[in-house]
């Protein structure tokens, strides 16, 4: 048993770190967050050249054919860089779901253009009740046409197609389809844009039954957790650095246990979240019997820990941490939007309870 990364995984992680820091420094993040879509075609083309946009797609569909562990390594680095734009929506979310619910033929039709950097995509799931429970979805396709409204759709304005989770299936809608209307929603996270999407008898192609969506959703949730871990790591690094250099009462503030012990807790929380996320990625990829439970455990812990780490980071930065100029709040905003995406800790605790408390609890025996 080996829980560490192998050599090629380490190379992938290190080169991604170098790539994201080089191509998308905080100055670029701040420039993009002030734009309407936070999207930059030049940057996107470079992702594609690195193979990042097709990282998990099968080689027949023009992808690199790597697994969920490699995906989360990229996401962790993207999170550390607070990467703006549709990488998560396109590759980890819509890509993972299209790949897992679609037929091979559908995969060959839709995935290669993403892999080549020519197309972007997203998922429309939440409705006005904002519930991540698939059973609560109200929207129904009639005669392959969708009518109604979806909310909190990430990067919808720059998506070439979107997957739509409806009560009677997973559908694919082209961005130029009739009756589609996309309007920005004003969220706290400035670096990942969200939209309300209205459908009015909009033509849609059915890819699968709704129940098929769960594996793809779990992959996307774990990938999002990895992005959160990257953000936590960055907040920890910035905070420790600040605690070493900022002096009060003639000493670095990191010398005071009230500060130092909070840093230790941030470290414990970040490392524990990383353990949960790496395991969940492996379990989901290998379809382990506890895969769904592992994904929930990752989302439970990471959702709470990302917020707590952010709270501590701001507190330790003192007045500086409360300024617009300091970068912590940008990570903190992202952490809050990610906390609720795919369900927050409360949602996933209940979901985990159905696995380990109710019924036969197979996950409990395998975990």
């Amino acid at each position: 048993m080996e829980f560490g990364l192998n050599e090629s995984q380490e190379i992938l992680r290190d080169s991604a770190r170098q790539f994201f820091t080089g191509e998308c420094p905080m100055s670029e993040v701040r420039r993009l967050m002030e734009t309407d879509t936070a999207f930059d075609q030049r940057l996107w083309t470079k992702f594609a050249e690195q193979g990042y946009t097709g990282i998990t797609f099968p080689e027949e569909a023009g992808g690199v054919g790597l697994g969920c562990v490699e995906l989360i390594l990229l996401m962790e680095e993207a999170g550390r860089a607070l990467l703006p734009g549709p990488f998560f929506s396109t590759v980890a979310l819509a890509g993972s779901i299209a790949h897992t619910v679609g037929t091979a033929a559908q995969g060959k039709e839709y995935l290669p253009r993403i892999g080549r950097g020519e197309a972007r995509a997203t998922l429309a799931f939440l409705e006005s009740d904002a519930s991540w429970n698939p059973a609560a979805l109200q929207m129904v396709a009639k005669n392959d046409k969708l009518t109604g409204e979806k909310l909190f759709v990430t990067d919808a304005a720059i998506a070439d197609w979107m997957l739509v989770a409806a009560n009677n299936g997973v559908f694919l809608v082209q961005s130029n389809a009739a009756g589609l209307r996309i309007q920005p929603m004003l969220g706290m996270d400035l670096t990942r844009k969200i939209y309300a999407v209205q459908f009015d008898h909009t033509p849609a192609e059915k890819l699968a039954e709704l129940s098929a969506i769960s594996k793809g959703l779990d992959i996307a949730a774990v990938a999002l957790c990895a992005e959160m871990v990257g953000g936590m790591q960055r907040m920890l690094d910035l905070t420790v650095e600040y605690a070493k250099t900022r002096k009060q009462f003639g000493k670095p503030i990191g010398m005071f246990q009230a500060v130092q012990h909070q840093c230790a807790d941030m470290y414990l929380e970040t490392e524990s979240a990383r353990s949960a996320v790496y395991y969940a990625a492996w379990a989901v990829e290998h379809e382990s019997p506890d895969a769904a439970a592992a994904a929930s455990i990752a989302k439970i812990y990471t959702s709470d820990a990302a917020r707590t780490v952010g709270n501590r980071a701001i507190q330790i930065h003192g007045g500086m941490g409360f300024t617009w100029e300091n970068d912590i709040h940008l990570y903190y905003r992202r952490a809050k939007s990610s906390e609720t995406m795919f369900g927050d800790a409360t949602f996933h605790r209940e979901r985990l309870a159905t696995h380990v408390i109710d019924a036969g609890s197979t996950a409990a025996q395998h975990a």
Binding site: M1, Q260, A264
Partner: protein
């Protein structure tokens, strides 16, 4: 990353599993609730059996009677022990902490003299570290040893010594040079507990039992050849013992935690809350799920630490993360048990209504010690802050 067991790990597991099947005592359940004073000879006999099968100290190098087991094999060993509910071994400190320290720092003569009898449980070891005025600040210890015609003459007092009442030998940290800075003047002595001037008293703890002892040393003569490591280098020797304490212990605890959370889930199906099983109460479901998740993360942190130690070659500060995580988690788990059981939670062993023969009221009280023993949570956070994050020392 590959979380399946390798062929060697599977072979190791199967070999030990087969050995256990034919050797593990079947009557442990009848003994386990008796006081340690009564069951100790039983535990000695069990360790002797493991020793004869070559299983007493799998982590030790082969040349000293171990199996040079990898960390993952050690985890498998404890998992198999727990799976068959095997009794613990009598010489836990000797095998887990003191033996490895003697192997690392001892002379060839010391290794030949002490190691085999640690393995066979012929000689039980205890650890004399903490003192009334030296707890977290261990280097402030005052028990002194003065050289006098080929012997160190020891005077002072130790506290919180496990197995003191049954110990044949003690790994004792003493001050040999009162003139130098506090870490530098310490030496580790191997002390025969039958020496004149050694007095052992029970230390009664808040649970009512006496797991630990106080030991008084009055003009106790220890031959110079019983110095472990170098004179005045005792701090480094002691620290290597503490590293073992924080690292390996966590692996064994995971199984206890898994058993406890599964038992709590089981209890939640029968304990009633507002006219329905607690398992249907939305608030308790949240708390049980949170606890379940944290127990699982404790296991995953341990596995990741093993992979890291295997690649770097030495136990490092990751032991502090584990210690901090499990000790605080156990307090939350025990509090959850109390919430689940309501008024029944307070009942102690012997009460006819006590759930699980009172283990939850005991566990609740005992868990307060978890964040104090083997390095307080505050000390662990200092270690993480300074040694992992590179923050300046706070003390």
């Amino acid at each position: 990353m590959d979380l399946n067991l390798t062929a060697e790990e599977l072979a190791f597991r199967d070999e030990f599993r087969a050995w256990l099947e034919s050797h593990v005592p079947k009557d442990w359940s009848a003994w386990r609730e008796k006081p340690l004073e009564e069951s100790f000879s039983y535990l000695r006999a069990w360790q002797r059996k493991l020793y004869e099968g070559g299983w007493a100290a799998v982590s030790w190098p082969k040349e000293y009677g171990g199996r040079s087991a990898t960390l993952m094999q050690q985890a498998i060993f404890w998992e198999e022990m727990a799976r068959v509910e095997a009794p613990p071994m009598a010489n836990a400190l000797g095998l887990g902490l003191i033996g490895p320290t003697i192997i690392a720092h001892g002379t060839p003569e010391q290794k030949a003299r002490y190691i085999p009898k640690i393995l066979s449980a012929e000689e039980i070891w205890c650890q004399g570290f903490s003192e009334p005025n030296a707890g977290s600040d261990l280097a402030a210890l005052q028990t002194e040893a003065r050289l006098s015609d080929g012997h160190y003459v020891v005077n002072g007092q130790k506290v919180w010594t496990s197995y003191g009442w049954v110990g044949d030998w003690c790994e004792l940290v003493v001050r040999t040079d009162p003139a130098t800075a506090k870490h530098k003047g310490l030496t580790v002595l191997l002390v025969d507990m039958k020496s004149p001037g050694v007095e052992v008293r029970p230390l009664r703890q808040m649970t009512g039992e006496s797991e630990f002892n106080e030991i008084f040393f009055r003009d106790v003569r220890v031959p110079v050849e019983n110095v472990l490591g170098k004179v005045n280098d005792g701090w480094n020797v002691a620290v290597s013992t503490l590293m073992h304490e924080r690292g390996a212990y966590g692996a064994r605890l995971i199984l206890t935690f898994k058993r406890n959370i599964h038992r709590l889930i089981e209890l939640s199906r029968t304990v009633q809350r507002n006219g329905r099983p607690a398992a249907h109460d939305p608030v308790l479901r949240q708390k049980l799920a949170q606890c379940y998740a944290e127990v699982e993360i404790m296991r995953l942190n341990q596995l990741r630490a093993f992979s890291r130690i295997t690649s770097t070659g030495a136990p490092g500060p990751e032991g502090s993360i584990q210690k901090l995580f499990w000790s605080e988690l156990n307090q939350r788990l025990q509090q959850l048990a109390q919430e689940l059981l309501g008024p029944l939670g307070q009942l102690v062993a012997g009460d006819a209504h006590a759930a699980d023969r009172g283990i939850w009221s005991y566990g609740y009280l005992r868990s307060r010690g978890n964040t104090i023993e083997a390095g307080t949570s505050e000390v662990q956070r200092n270690i993480i802050g300074h040694f992992v994050l590179g923050l300046p020392r706070s003390y």
